[in-house]
C-alpha cells in the first residue's frame, strides 16, 4: 500500500516532466530545464552519500568533471563512439572512487570534508594543467552529440528528453535503493556507526560502495553534460560547484530523493530569475539561502508542506503548533 503510493508519486512526477517542455515555448527556458536535469542527477548522487549515509563530499564537481573530460577526450580526440565513452567514463570514475574511498572514508566529519575537498582540487588542477589532453583553461571543443538510431541529440528539446530519461532512471534507482535493506543500513550508519557494525553491517565497505556509486552517477551526469554542451572548460568543475551541490542537497532536503530535485531546480532557477537585480543578484541569492536555512531546516521537501499547513490553519483561525 505504501509501495503503491510511492509508485503513483513517481509516475506523477514523470508525467509532469514529460509534459513540461510542451507548455514552454521559449528555447532558453528549456535549456535551463536541461540544466535542472543534470543538477538533479548530481544532487541525487551527493544526497545518497550525504543525506543517507551521513558522509560529506566536497569533491563531487571533480567526479562530474572527470566524467565530462573522459567522455570529451575519448570522442573529440580519439573518435570513439559517445555511448562507449560514457560507459568508460562511468566505469573508470566508479572504480577510481572505490579505490580512493577506502583510505578517505576512514576519516570523519571535518577531516573527511578536507580530504574530499583536496581530491576535487587535485582533479581540477589536472584539467587545467594537462593542456595536451584537456586543452587547459581554454577548454575542449568539438565533442559530438549523442545519437540513437539516427536521432542526433542536437537541440535543447531533444537533450531535455535525453537527460531527463537518465535523471528519472537514476531517481528510480535511488528510490529503490533507499527503501531497501541497504537504505536502512545507510541510515543506521548515519545514526551510529558502531551500533550498525555490531548489527552486522559492514559499514566500512558500504560507505565506500555508496561513495563509488555517487561518483559514478556524477560521472554519467558529466558525460551527458559534455555531449550536450559539446564544449567543456575546467571552470565548470571547480570547488565552487562542489559547494553549490552541497547547498542544493541541504536546501532541497537531506535524505530525500524528491528534495534533490527541488533543491536542484531552485538553485538553477534562482540565478536566472535574479537577473533583474543585475549586479546585486549574488547578495539577494545569499540572503535567500540564509533565510531558507533558518526557517526550513528540513529543506524544501519538509518546509513547504509545513508552511502550507500553517497558512491553512491561520486562515481557518485555529492555533497551530509551532513546527
Amino acid at each position: 500500500m505504501a509501495v503503491n503510493r510511492e509508485i503513483i508519486k513517481f509516475l506523477a512526477m514523470v508525467v509532469v516532466i514529460l509534459v513540461a517542455p510542451l507548455l514552454v515555448h521559449e528555447g532558453y527556458l528549456i535549456n535551463v530545464m536541461v540544466f535542472i536535469g543534470i543538477h538533479t542527477m548530481l544532487a541525487l548522487a551527493l544526497n545518497l552519500l550525504l543525506g543517507y549515509a551521513g558522509q560529506i563530499s566536497l569533491g563531487q564537481a571533480g567526479f562530474f568533471g572527470l566524467g565530462a573530460y573522459i567522455s570529451g577526450i575519448l570522442t573529440a580526440t580519439h573518435g570513439i563512439n559517445p555511448w562507449a565513452a560514457m560507459a568508460a567514463a562511468a566505469l573508470f570514475v566508479t572504480f577510481l572512487a572505490f579505490i580512493v574511498g577506502f583510505p578517505i572514508l576512514k576519516l570523519k566529519g571535518h577531516y573527511l570534508a578536507m580530504a574530499t575537498l583536496g581530491l576535487g582540487i587535485i582533479i581540477y588542477i589536472v584539467f587545467n594543467e594537462a593542456v595536451e589532453q584537456t586543452g587547459g583553461p581554454s577548454g575542449l571543443s568539438g565533442i559530438p552529440n549523442l545519437q540513437v538510431a539516427g536521432i542526433v541529440f542536437d537541440t535543447d528539446l531533444k537533450n531535455y528528453y535525453l537527460i531527463w530519461a537518465f535523471t528519472l532512471a537514476a531517481m528510480g534507482l535511488a528510490l529503490n535503493l533507499v527503501h531497501s535493506r541497504i537504505g536502512r543500513a545507510l541510515r543506521a550508519i548515519h545514526d551510529s556507526e558502531v551500533a550498525a557494525r555490531v548489527m552486522g553491517v559492514n559499514a566500512r565497505l558500504l560507505k565506500v560502495q555508496i561513495f563509488a556509486l555517487s561518483a559514478g552517477l556524477s560521472a554519467i551526469a558529466g558525460s551527458l553534460y559534455a555531449h550536450t554542451m559539446t564544449f567543456i572548460a575546467p571552470a565548470s568543475f571547480g570547488f565552487n560547484f562542489s559547494v553549490e551541490l552541497v547547498t542544493m542537497v541541504i536546501i532541497g532536503g537531506l535524505a530525500s530523493i524528491y528534495g534533490s530535485l527541488l533543491g536542484a531546480a531552485l538553485l538553477t532557477l534562482l540565478p536566472e530569475m535574479l537577473r533583474a537585480f543585475q549586479d546585486y543578484d549574488i547578495i539577494v541569492y545569499g540572503l535567500l539561502l540564509i533565510v531558507m536555512t533558518m526557517f526550513m531546516p528540513g529543506g524544501l521537501v519538509k518546509g513547504v508542506p509545513s508552511a502550507l499547513s500553517r497558512i491553512r490553519g491561520k486562515l481557518q483561525g485555529r492555533p497551530v503548533p509551532h513546527a
Partner: protein
C-alpha cells in the same frame, strides 16, 4: 561454547585488557562486574570485533574468531547490545528491528521467518509494538533498552552480549528487562554474557561471575559464592560501608 584465552587489548598505548581469560558454557548467564574503567565493556567490544585483541585467542563453538570483523562475528551468532543502547534514533522502531536482521535479509532468508521473529519481539516487548511506527529517538530510556535488546535478538544470536542494560533506568524497568533476560535463557536457551554496574542484581540472575579490576580478572566463581564473598561485598555490594564517624 566461548573460550577466551589470555587476550590483551589496547586503546592506542593504553593497555586495557591484561591477559583476560574467561569461558562460557551453552545456556549460561555469566556476569562481568567491576568498577568504572575495569575493562568490562572492552571485553564485549573485543568479542564483537569492534576493538580487536592484539594477542590471545577467542574460540566460539570450537572455531577461532579473534581476527574476524564485526559483521562476520554477527553472522556466526554473537550479537551485542551496545553500551548506552545506541538505537538508531532517526529510524522507526520497526526499521530498527529489521536492521537487526540485516544479514538475514542479505542471505535471502525467507521474509516470513523474519516477520515471525518481529512478532516474537513484539510479544517479548509489547510496548515496542505499540510504538512500532514511532521514531526510536522519541522512546523512553527503558523502551530504547528494550529496542536495543530486540534489535540484537533479530540476528538470532546464540550468544548475546549485554552491556549495562540497567544503565540509567528506574528500578521497575530494570526488573522488567531482567525478567526478559531470564526468560530468554529459559525459553530459548540463549547464552548471555552480561556486563553490569548493578552487581547485586546481575549476580542474583547469573550462574557465574567474573570480577574485573584495572583490566584483569581478579576473582571468578559461582554467582552465589561471589555474592557471599566478603571482598566483593565490600567493594561492589556496599556491605560494611563505614560512615566517616565510625572509622
Amino acid at each position: 561454547m566461548l573460550k577466551v584465552k589470555n587476550i590483551n587489548t589496547y586503546y592506542g598505548k593504553v593497555h586495557a585488557l591484561k591477559n583476560v581469560t574467561i569461558h562460557l558454557a551453552q545456556g549460561e548467564i555469566v556476569a562481568l562486574i567491576g568498577a568504572n574503567g575495569a575493562g568490562k565493556t572492552t571485553i564485549l567490544n573485543t568479542l564483537s570485533g569492534v576493538i580487536p585483541a592484539r594477542t590471545g585467542s577467542i574460540q566460539f563453538l570450537g572455531e577461532p574468531v579473534e581476527t574476524l570483523p564485526p559483521d562476520r562475528i554477527v553472522k556466526i551468532g554473537i550479537s551485542q547490545v551496545p553500551e548506552g543502547r545506541q538505537v538508531f534514533k532517526g529510524m522507526t522502531v520497526a526499521d530498527n528491528l529489521e536492521l537487526g536482521a540485516y544479514l538475514r535479509f542479505r542471505s535471502r532468508e525467507p521474509r516470513e521467518q523474519i516477520r515471525q521473529d518481529m512478532r516474537h519481539m513484539y510479544e517479548l516487548f509489547p510496548r515496542l509494538e505499540e510504538r512500532k511506527k514511532q521514531m526510536a529517538g522519541t522512546l523512553s530510556g527503558g523502551e530504547q533498552q528494550m529496542l536495543a535488546i530486540g534489535r540484537a535478538l533479530m540476528a538470532r544470536p546464540r550468544l548475546l552480549l549485554l552491556d549495562e542494560p540497567s544503565m540509567g533506568l528506574a528500578p521497575l524497568v530494570v526488573q522488567e528487562i531482567f525478567g526478559v533476560i531470564e526468560r530468554l535463557r529459559r525459553d530459548e536457551g540463549t547464552t548471555i554474557l552480561l556486563v553490569e554496574q548493578n552487581a547485586r542484581a546481575a549476580l542474583k540472575m547469573a550462574d557465574r561471575g567474573y570480577v574485573l579490576e584495572t583490566g584483569k580478572v581478579i576473582l571468578e566463581g559461582a554467582a552465589a559464592e561471589l555474592l557471599e564473598n566478603p571482598e566483593v561485598q565490600r567493594a561492589y555490594l556496599g556491605k560494611e560501608k563505614k560512615e566517616i564517624w565510625e572509622r
